[in-house]
């Protein structure tokens, strides 16, 4: 009983991480041209592969988001979401280090930055947000069973 706040926190974490992923996925899925450009500008993949990844990524994010929100496979999905965040942190970090003048493109609006210049604030904000979301994913891995989830609850988490 006294640990019930944990399951509310799990629900909050699921909605937070799921909500961010859903928004990110939806805004990119709406605009495939921008979504692919925002993958290409990180210069991590050859153009053809970047385009395929750009078309698929929004739907992967949407899928992970929906699973988190309804609370299915929370532990596994939290690992995948955390891995995705680490990948994003790496991508943004290397773009910053290489001085690639880009918008993050995390929520659409990707591509080359409007004035063709490097804006350190952009990279820093993205990295800090993704670190925060990685922490949320970590919490969900530790306490996957919260309120209103479709996963079968386990004793320890109730």
């Amino acid at each position: 009983m006294k640990e019930s706040w944990k399951s509310w926190l799990t629900l909050l974490g699921r909605l937070l991480l799921g909500g961010v992923l859903l928004a990110a996925g939806y805004l990119k899925a709406k605009n495939p041209t921008e979504a692919t450009a925002s993958v290409r500008v990180y210069k991590l993949l050859p153009v053809g592969a970047a385009n395929i990844f750009g078309y698929c990524l929004p739907w992967i994010e949407i899928g992970l988001a929906l699973l988190l929100i309804v609370g299915i496979w929370v532990r596994q999905v939290s690992v995948l979401s955390g891995a995705l965040m680490v990948l994003f942190i790496f991508a943004v970090g290397q773009a910053w280090a290489r001085k690639l003048a880009i918008n993050c493109g995390c929520f659409g609006n990707g591509g080359v930055s409007a004035d063709g210049k490097v804006h350190p604030g952009v990279y820093l904000t993205e990295i800090l947000r993704d670190i925060g979301l990685t922490v949320v994913a970590g919490y969900l891995y530790r306490f996957p069973h919260g309120k209103l989830g479709l996963d079968k609850a386990e004793v320890s988490d109730i």
């Binding site: 041209t33 698929c56 739907w59 386990e154």
Partner: protein, 237 residues
């Protein structure tokens, strides 16, 4: 704490009634993801059967090519609703149009359609104007009449087909074919070909101006002096 965790691994609480709902939800989510990926991969290919406007070739990335025999080739990737493209046009439109009219450059226009919901109908209307030999005029008019992005944000719709037809008439198009072309959305599929080609060419923003295969820095695009110098350096006077 550690104790409890150990225990939980072996004693899941059974909630049999939920199993069906759970699989149903998993199935629906899987369907959404697969359908989304499938549609995204299928829709964003170029379609070789799409009707294309006059003076377009696949080799030029489906761009509208004016003076194809001129030696200096200028590829311009723009979106009719992109405010920075309007800046580029405000600075260089007169000069570029003059070079095209004098036959000094092979201008290849790639009208992109990712900024606003009406970018595609604007691009398609410009293609309809190309069929009437009025591409340059329509192109100029579309930028001259682009809404102020502080009033109409760049990602909200502005143009309607009716307005685009009137705009075409204002630059001297009289043929009914143009009206039909715009209204029927004849060249909307072609705008996807433009996008697919731009993706394959690693075009990551608009405007992108490429002169003889070399992408100009954005700073050059917005600076009339620097932009003109690119062409005078290539022997164009």
């Amino acid at each position: 704490m550690a104790d409890k965790k150990k225990k939980s691994k072996h004693q899941p609480v059974k909630k049999q009634g939920d199993a069906f709902t759970r699989y149903l939800v998993i199935g629906m989510i899987a369907l959404i993801v697969l359908a989304g990926v499938g549609a995204a991969l299928a829709k964003n290919h170029s379609n070789s059967h799409a009707p294309v406007p006059a003076s377009v070739s696949k080799a030029d990335g489906y761009g509208i090519s004016l003076n194809p025999t001129a030696k200096v080739k200028v590829d311009m990737f723009e979106d009719f609703r992109c405010p920075n493209c309007k800046n580029f046009e405000a600075v260089n439109n007169t000069y570029v149009n003059q070079l095209v009219r004098e036959g000094k450059i092979n201008a290849v226009y790639h009208p992109m359609s990712f900024i606003a919901p009406d970018s595609a109908i604007a691009a398609a209307a410009a293609a309809c104007a190309a069929d009437q030999g009025k591409f340059l005029e329509m192109h100029t008019a579309l930028y001259a009449n682009q809404p102020d992005s502080s009033v109409t944000p760049e990602n909200t719709a502005y143009w309607t087909n009716a307005q685009l037809i009137l705009l075409g008439h204002s630059v001297g198009i009289t043929s009914k074919t143009f009206d039909t072309c715009v209204n029927s959305g004849k060249y909307i599929p072609w705008t996807k070909n433009i996008a697919a080609d731009a993706a394959a060419r690693n075009i990551n923003g608009t405007p992108t101006v490429i002169v003889n295969g070399k992408t100009l820095p954005l700073a050059t695009d917005y600076d009339a002096k620097a932009f003109t110098k690119v062409f005078t350096d290539l022997g164009i006077k």
